[in-house]
């Protein structure tokens, strides 16, 4: 094995060591990138780093990130979100996990409005984590539901992942959007089923609102309250989704309708004030910056991995795969899953997919199906500890008592559900291929 490939492996190891030693994520990425890149190819290639950083901060599709985060924080500061989840908890009566179901539903709707990884997870974390913890949810369960629901946006169209995959795999964006719809809903369904089952098996983890408290609220009052608190956020979702479907805004810009709408809602609810606005502005600024900090410091790492020829490691492993199409697909899935432990999804797509494309194309496999398998897999990679983006983003907005351990523990069942979903799409390609064929996309 060439020296540089060994360095790439050691770099990954050093990154994990630093990460587990409690050094901030951004620092781990930056330091290992610079040190091992310098050892392998010297200072020269790092002249490309500013270009990569500039690419991140001016990336048009990332606009949804600060916009959605602003919306989330505004809803949080104006207490609209908290009331919403609370009232849903009341409305679900004695059903365990009612608020978790609401979170999944919001995840689906937010997912249908956005396709940027950080945006939905952070927004959901801001909106939902506090209220459900206050209602006695198990921290791990709460984090798991939020992370998993927050990443649904990757598979439910529109989605940045699907747009990139369309480009790499030579499929039209529309075909992949259509193909992803049912698998996305399938995953949501699996999450819902899991929450219901968990409510039966482990009632303490997602308790309903105490009966006494529920009894204190008359049905009439509940109905009125429901109307009062549910309508505004629904209006907001309608504003975002509606502006995409109604042709008012392109997917990225639609987030601004949500952000603007959250200000309007705060004003209408009578909770708007200059201090609230200032808090929201500062909170959104810090939270967005935390996501950007990690994205930016991931650049030296990505540059070093490429510069060291890290993709050759993958090539080498690929050479050892036994033949057979299913073997190749299985290997691809395994590879994406493993790379997801330490690389971000764009890097993964660029490194792994080009290897396989010629094989699949020659075998005449439907590329839309492969793309959806890949998309579900990448979505799982957002959740895999230790380096799942969703996990860090949630950690960034979680109250201090929530530990990374809680989050890791909480997402494991959802990772398994994702894998189950993946297996289903693998076994029944029609889940992905029926819709695009039916509507002729």
């Amino acid at each position: 094995m060439p020296l540089n490939e060994i360095l790439a492996l050691v770099m990954i190891g050093a990154f994990f060591l630093m990460l587990l030693g409690g050094i901030p994520v951004a620092v781990c990425l930056g330091v290992t990138g610079f040190v091992f890149g310098y050892a392998g190819f010297g200072p020269f290639l790092f002249t490309l780093l500013p270009a990569r950083v500039f690419g991140v901060i001016t990336n048009y599709t990332l606009l949804a990130l600060p916009l959605f985060i602003f919306m989330g924080i505004m809803l949080e500061k104006s207490k609209i979100a908290e009331e919403l989840l609370d009232v849903i908890g009341f409305a679900m009566g004695g059903l365990r996990g009612g608020m978790a179901l609401a979170i999944i539903l919001v995840g689906v709707l937010m997912g249908a409005a956005s396709g940027v990884v950080g945006a939905t997870v952070v927004t959901m974390g801001l909106i939902a984590l506090g209220p459900v913890l206050k209602r006695g949810y198990d921290t791990g369960v709460a984090c798991g539901v939020i992370c998993a629901s927050g990443t649904l946006g990757q598979i439910i169209p529109p989605s940045l992942v699907l747009i990139l995959l369309a480009d790499i795999m030579g499929e039209s964006v529309g075909t992949l959007f259509a193909a992803a719809l049912f698998p996305g809903l399938l995953l949501s369904g699996l999450f819902i089923a899991y929450v219901l089952v968990l409510g039966l098996l482990n009632p303490g983890a997602l308790p309903p609102i105490p009966a006494a408290e529920r009894a204190a609220l008359s049905r009439r009052d509940l109905a009125l309250k429901l109307l009062r608190v549910v309508l505004p956020p629904i209006a907001l979702i309608v504003a975002v989704l509606g502006s995409i479907i109604g042709g008012v805004a392109a997917p990225t810009e639609a987030a601004s309708m949500g952000a603007l709408g959250s200000i309007v809602l705060a004003i209408l609810s009578g909770r708007f004030s200059l201090p609230v606005l200032r808090d929201a502005v500062h909170g959104a600024f810090i939270t967005s910056a935390m996501v950007f900090l990690i994205l930016i410091f991931a650049q030296p790492f990505g540059l070093a991995f490429r510069g060291l020829g890290g993709e050759n490691l993958v090539h080498d492993a690929f050479g050892m795969v036994p033949g057979g199409l299913n073997g190749q697909i299985l290997f691809l899935m395994l590879l994406l899953f493993v790379l997801g432990f330490f690389l971000e999804w764009i890097e993964i797509s660029y490194i792994a997919l080009p290897l396989f494309l010629p094989i699949f194309m020659n075998a005449g496999v439907d590329m839309a199906w492969i793309a959806i398998l890949v998309a579900v897999n990448l979505q799982t990679s957002f959740l895999t500890p230790p380096f799942g983006w969703a996990l860090f983003f949630l950690k960034g907005v979680a109250p201090p008592q929530v530990t990374t351990g809680d989050i890791y523990r909480g997402v494991i069942p959802f990772i398994l559900l994702q894998l189950l979903g993946l297996l289903m799409v693998f076994t029944f390609p029609g889940l992905a291929l029926w819709l695009p064929n039916a509507i002729g996309w």
Partner: protein, 333 residues
Amino acid sequence: QSSFNWKMTNAYGPGSPFYVEGPGSPIDFCKKVEAMSDGRITIQHFAAGELIPALEGFDAVRSGAVEMNAANAYFWAGKIPAAQYFTTVPFGMNFQGMNAWLYHGGGMALWDELYEPLGLKALPMGNTGVQMTGWFRDPIESVADFQNLKMRIPGLAGKVYAALGVDVKLLPGGEIFPALERGVIDAAEFVGPYQDRRLGLQNAAKYYYTTGWHEPSNVTELLMNAEAWASLPADLQEIVKTAAMACNLESHTWCEANNAEALRDLVDNYGVQAQVLPDAVVSELKAATDTVLAEFAAQDEQVKKVHDAFMAFKAEHQAWAGVSEKPLYGLPG
């Protein structure tokens, strides 16, 4: 130094036919150079996003961190405005005219003159041929239909449309489909039938107009660091030049062959209406283009020099094409 291990970055994403891989593509160019030089030059290719973002190749090559970049020179319009003329300009020249100008009409010398002070050297390495006007949700019958039309159209052509009342929207490639499909924009320009079908635009709009007035051809630029270029021995320089020339031809013929099939497929199987813009509309576009280009040339000495040379050659070539190619197209099929 007897062997060279170079890097090439690309403004287009992985897998993209013509722009990245396939006959006459940048990856094909790398392979050709390696084969022709018996491995004395190897070029490692990086698609957009693999090493640097799409439009950062200019700076990367200039700094010397990579030796080569594949793109279109008009992407550098903000850095060196005259570079646009070495890709295409509205109502410019087709494949024959453009290459005649570059190879034999003084175009290359001007290109060198423009890039030399920046430590750069460029060669043409591909051409899409004539592009399509774009996809419209509603038919264009007169120039009045441009009023308040929302269109995704970058560059100078965008400025021409804007002069006729079009509202120009900037969108990344991936968002063209969802925006056009939902009517956020009413029209979008991309490349030609083969590439557009890949984006699925036929599912978003049905009126597919032609004349290619905005991009009568479109040159792929091989950009090189001048020092790296100068470090190559004469025989290897010749190999690079020849491979670029071969790709220029091969990429264009590949487009001609594949666009034919793609357009027929779009019309036969997707209900696409392929139409030519009405003459009256085209003449209004021409008038607006003259104004826009005149303003553009007046901004900058370099632009004026290249503009004048380009237009002088175009006038002469057009006169010849008018008696050679044009009647040929009028022959009974």
